[in-house]
Symmetry: D2
Amino acid sequence: MADQKIRVAVNGYGVIGKRVADAVRVQPDMELVGVSDVVSDYRVKTAVALGIPVCTSLPDKQNEMQAAGIPVVGTLDNLLTDVEVIVDCTPKGIAAKNIDRYREAGVKSIFQGGEKHSLTGHSFVAQANYASALGRDTTRVVSCNTTSTVRTLIALRDAGLLKKARGVLIRRATDPWESDHSGIMNTVVPEEHIPSHQGPDAQTVVPELDVVTIAAKAAHTQNHNHFWIVELARAATREDVLAAFRAAPRIAFFRMSEGIVALNNSVELMKDLGRPRGDMWEVGLWEDVLDVKGDEVYYTYQVDNQAIVIPETIDAIRALTGAVTDARESIARTDAALGMKRDFLVG
Amino acid sequence: MADQKIRVAVNGYGVIGKRVADAVRVQPDMELVGVSDVVSDYRVKTAVALGIPVCTSLPDKQNEMQAAGIPVVGTLDNLLTDVEVIVDCTPKGIAAKNIDRYREAGVKSIFQGGEKHSLTGHSFVAQANYASALGRDTTRVVSCNTTSTVRTLIALRDAGLLKKARGVLIRRATDPWESDHSGIMNTVVPEEHIPSHQGPDAQTVVPELDVVTIAAKAAHTQNHNHFWIVELARAATREDVLAAFRAAPRIAFFRMSEGIVALNNSVELMKDLGRPRGDMWEVGLWEDVLDVKGDEVYYTYQVDNQAIVIPETIDAIRALTGAVTDARESIARTDAALGMKRDFLVG
Amino acid sequence: MADQKIRVAVNGYGVIGKRVADAVRVQPDMELVGVSDVVSDYRVKTAVALGIPVCTSLPDKQNEMQAAGIPVVGTLDNLLTDVEVIVDCTPKGIAAKNIDRYREAGVKSIFQGGEKHSLTGHSFVAQANYASALGRDTTRVVSCNTTSTVRTLIALRDAGLLKKARGVLIRRATDPWESDHSGIMNTVVPEEHIPSHQGPDAQTVVPELDVVTIAAKAAHTQNHNHFWIVELARAATREDVLAAFRAAPRIAFFRMSEGIVALNNSVELMKDLGRPRGDMWEVGLWEDVLDVKGDEVYYTYQVDNQAIVIPETIDAIRALTGAVTDARESIARTDAALGMKRDFLVG
Amino acid sequence: MADQKIRVAVNGYGVIGKRVADAVRVQPDMELVGVSDVVSDYRVKTAVALGIPVCTSLPDKQNEMQAAGIPVVGTLDNLLTDVEVIVDCTPKGIAAKNIDRYREAGVKSIFQGGEKHSLTGHSFVAQANYASALGRDTTRVVSCNTTSTVRTLIALRDAGLLKKARGVLIRRATDPWESDHSGIMNTVVPEEHIPSHQGPDAQTVVPELDVVTIAAKAAHTQNHNHFWIVELARAATREDVLAAFRAAPRIAFFRMSEGIVALNNSVELMKDLGRPRGDMWEVGLWEDVLDVKGDEVYYTYQVDNQAIVIPETIDAIRALTGAVTDARESIARTDAALGMKRDFLVG
């Protein structure tokens, strides 16, 4: 059966790329043929430590990478001859220059949420529009914030509960490993425009959503914290809303009463559960904070900005190749392979 | 005229108390007779450096304070015999024990927002309910978050614009000077309950407000950042809403386009303007972020949690004593003495 | 052979306890019989998720723990009847109350660095004094800072290079998961006394060390950063000093040139390498920062305060039980089982 | 006497420039003729609010500045025709391009520590080498870290106490107002080289110092924290060392016992004392932490990186113009005008 695995490459072994590589490697129906990058520092060296074949995206960089001790096995062009799908996780702006290269090589391509919808003409969240990606040559997995917004709002929509949604998104300021030139200190930085772009971005996946978002960066490095005020389409109880969330995939629960009272507790929890890199692929929703008053529901959840799009990317691989035609089946496979949960803890 | 000045004391020379003392000292119609405290550290020593008479709130502490070099001029009981009004800025919980002592001494008292409404039976925001405090023996100036909420929402109400308001309040985690046992690091901590208490607290001042708040602490030490989604009572433009805010007192404007793009910029701005302690007494509203879409207005502002209640406290002194019967006159006097602004900058 | 495994329990499933439990589970010659705790929150629930038997340290808490969904398998007293060694990782102060209980049960005990040397009369760092712990009934694994100090200074001593050492230790302020009441924000907090306690604490292990330390807490949550100025006992080159460190166990190298330029990069590196919980058990020394000028060597390294004492604790188990009499053999077994490194990266 | 005041201009109204402007304005023997800048944001607008004449350093920017509401009164070239001394506080690198312009205009110039010693051929700390700057056309006030190092080490040298000094400098990461692209988060970033540049920089002022420094950035935005280990040239007590510091200018004392236990407490203290912008111009030394053991003294102090060079800059103005020939007289004038202290508090 090994020859029937989907052959996948990852271009850009950074925050997202390394996690996509991890996730591809644990899917029984996929094979990670290699990753490609241009740098010679610890980031790429860890791919070597994990036994992943490394290619160079720029032939000019091959000597430098080899001099740094990285056994470069080929170029990105070589890699493209050997795979069906490439996941492009290069920095914003570079990806857009790569799409033609992938098309010419006859390789299907998946881009990340930093790129524009117009680059691919299709934006992807598995539970929302898997079917429309079947057989396409390219798609864009939307950003972490948008992915969580779509997951939760279509859960409400599918239960007939959603009228309109207003969200305030408190974003992490930079990544945990960044050591300079990107941090904010002892402040909050609101976005210059309200509404922020996440509302319209969610509409690239589900156009009919009535959603407005306000965003700001706060002085922490991991996980976004979303706060939502949703007007209900019909009278509903707290239990009705929770049931709607439970019925949808990739939303999992923790509780203040369990001591998960802040973003950093949940980061610890994921490490305690033995998850690779401490990742939380689910929307992490506080079950015991959610409340309904009159025709409104209020809730707050966390988004692991480094991890939440990983299962969507895995599903996108199956959708583009047509290897699995049913969204639910792909989601089930992905979630089982990663070990995703509905409740993080017993009790 | 000096004998006609309102004689004021401050009990508790901490974050709020020292600012009340500053503000009383610059009011032409008030005299700061003294402050009272129980500690011997740098906080009280700075009162000495500023030439303020210091009393001890606990006679037991007098020796310790004097040994530390603080020339204690008397006890709180002595002080009470010499003033008309005392502003109680002691830590939460202690204030409640003091109210009878003040009553017995025949001294009017003002408490801060950490105390319960039931302690005084009256909660105060100058522009909302000054008249109802006239001649009372005690009132409570509501908390920083509630003060800003009331100021902005009644501005909208008075312009006939307010239907309902939903706010997300991103609070500072601890005070800038706290060095231990109170901080949060690299996280956001949502409050355990939604709605949070600020909405009901605003209703202690203006019962008819339809307001719901969600609150969280972020990892910074100065200024709260409020994000509001307000449903309008009538069709209105962005300019209509700004005009409503401009017509109300103690809301001042800055702009992203001026480089004020975060909480810490505005802290710097206040210092640049030469304000004592870098204080911002106004609600600091981003004029160029506010926007109207359909029947909703979205806006964000900052609250200097250490300073915003100071002008309200000054007005409360005039209201309780009946020295000024018209809210607008008291507000005008306070604002002129402090140097409050409508626009922080030219242009 | 399974019946010959050392039977181990852990009392206190917190920051250190959970890591000791992990490490015991991967040692071929040890068996984790169970852990014991008193809380019912996510921390203990994750032990359940990992399949570890959980006991209650206080019988009174058993009902509460079971009500929270934790299948409590017995009490600490039950556990003590079934093990040879217990590793006490309870909070500071509680451990001291437990030692008699362990002695009465005839169980050897290991305490952590928060406890005093006088509690056990023996303080342990494997490479320094393994032999002196053989057959004892109890020992104390010294703190993270002291462990790193001893590891590095005896490496220099054993190479005949150490005259005197002066270190400035910039500590993390609180643990990454702490969400309140322990953090510091936007500040540095120096210890009240110079020299700080780490120098004398190192002398509980190696009395002859001429070492003085100065310590402060900075505003980050993970890893201590030590800066050392060491006067050399003989003329030596940079290469001589590096060779001395390479010859000693549990000091590993990274380089600024690889992009490891700050504490948080190395935290990311450990996660990238697939380490459980992202742990760094080694002293992480910057090879390319170390320099020698005249008779002094200067260097800086990181200490993962959550992880560095784990291998020492494992060795202490073997030393107390006498299962392995040679320090080098125990160290080699521990390090192989954990996957410890000399150079974190190729190159 | 007004016509005999030294006429001064400031080019660059940023962190340092605005403080130099403040300080010039309070010197009885100086007049601030104007400041010059190129930006139109809040920083320059506050100069307008303070009544300071603003020029444009680049004529091209004049329209933009005026459009923003800044009443530009002329160009930098105009300003140069009207002053004796210009203090250049432009960003690093730009200053070097300005020196010829100043020379051509016959205006004496003072640069800041971000510039190289070679630019001016003279580096300045008032108490160390005021005399050598008399009548020069230009000098460089050394950086905040170097200024504090020179102040404290020559205090020890002048008391015959200094043999050699080793310091670890924990720097603030970015300025309090910076909102993006410069911060570090939840980490410590050591400098790539040991020794760091501050030691050699101190030797540009006092060549004979035996001083080595190690530097790192920690995750806070205000004040550097220096930790020193100094080998004494003769037997001395703790009191001897304190007396040496007391005998030198611009070193002031606070105490842990007064509640000043961290960097942020002292920032609060300066605001409490009513200082403009909360500035601490003195080296802030913890009197009760300093200790002597054998032939070594250990101490720690704070450096307000935004303020400490201001009094040196004022003295440099007098030195270059020759207005005052005696260092002690200039220092005394500056310190009296600013309100500098020896002990921050009574007691």
